[in-house]
Subunit: 177 residues, 2 copies
């Protein structure tokens, strides 16, 4: 896939087919996370790769908007060694998700609020900071149900803000450049 097309067509997708993600693809995705840049090259991350459906189902109960994790073929729980590394965690997560998309695999980040239960499910020690989880699977061509799409459109206006509302040139008050 062309790099620029991969970046701008990546959407956060929550419905996946039954097709498993093979180990080689998971390794390729993880290698892209590993190669991510970070402040002072600290590489503050660890990856817990969850492929066991019963563990994914348990994790899906650890977040308020996490049900798609139970339908995912794999989840990557991303931890960092300090809460100050969340920006770098976001860089790493985007690498993981774009690499997946370059292989035709869809993804969506998942916030897991029930920190204690996540640690129980994964046998995670107290030190690593939970940054986020990423649900992975081949995209379901049926996509979302009509009602779900409508609800999302209302709640979260699914499009993207126009560029001219986001960009300032040289100084904050210069919108035209």
């Amino acid at each position: 896939m062309d790099a620029y097309q991969c970046i701008v067509t990546k959407r956060d997708v929550r419905r996946y087919t039954e097709t498993a993600i093979d180990r080689a693809a998971l390794i390729q995705i993880l290698e892209a996370g590993r190669s991510s840049g970070s402040a002072r090259n600290r590489q503050p991350w660890q990856f817990v790769v969850v492929t066991d459906p019963s563990l994914l189902a348990r994790l899906a109960r650890c977040g308020r908007f996490a049900t798609h994790l139970a339908r995912a073929r794999a989840g990557i729980v991303l931890t960092v060694d300090t809460p100050r590394a969340l920006f770098d965690a976001g860089r790493c997560a985007q690498n993981l998700m774009l690499a997946a998309w370059s292989l035709g695999i869809a993804s969506c980040p998942v916030t897991l609020q029930d920190d204690a239960e996540v640690r129980r499910v994964l046998g995670l020690p107290p030190e690593p900071v939970l940054a986020n989880a990423i649900a992975l699977g081949y995209p379901d061509p049926r996509g979302r149900g009509r009602l779900e799409r409508l609800a999302l459109a209302v709640v979260a206006h699914r499009g993207r803000k126009p560029l001219e509302t986001l960009v300032h040139w040289n100084r904050h008050d210069d919108r035209a450049g």
Copy 2:
């Protein structure tokens, strides 16, 4: 460029040629940032694009490791509307930098500690949270000086940790999967 190659070959580069980045390329890079996913599709970001060399030089004095911003052909100061959006800011920054790299443009994030001075330089109101800045430019083929490379290798071990030290399968104590 191939998407996967773009992702895994992207390095944080701090030396740039004199070649300017044209406006069309900047817009293409910004479109990739704009298309980034975010929690509940909030799109919490704004971009201040700095191309004025005198402003870049002033910003370069706002961070402890920010001198490369003065040598950059452009800088993008990324702001978000809440400190909780730093993970999403990281996703957006990676999109900006990978899109740049797909066009042959190198980049490096810059942390600007002197918040008050950044706001003065850019005329930034008090509300937006400074997430990070990104220095951009065509990579200098001469790269780093030998001494600089040696120092960086010592300080920050420039390579990447081996994948097997980062990955756990299903549970934290399973390194082999």
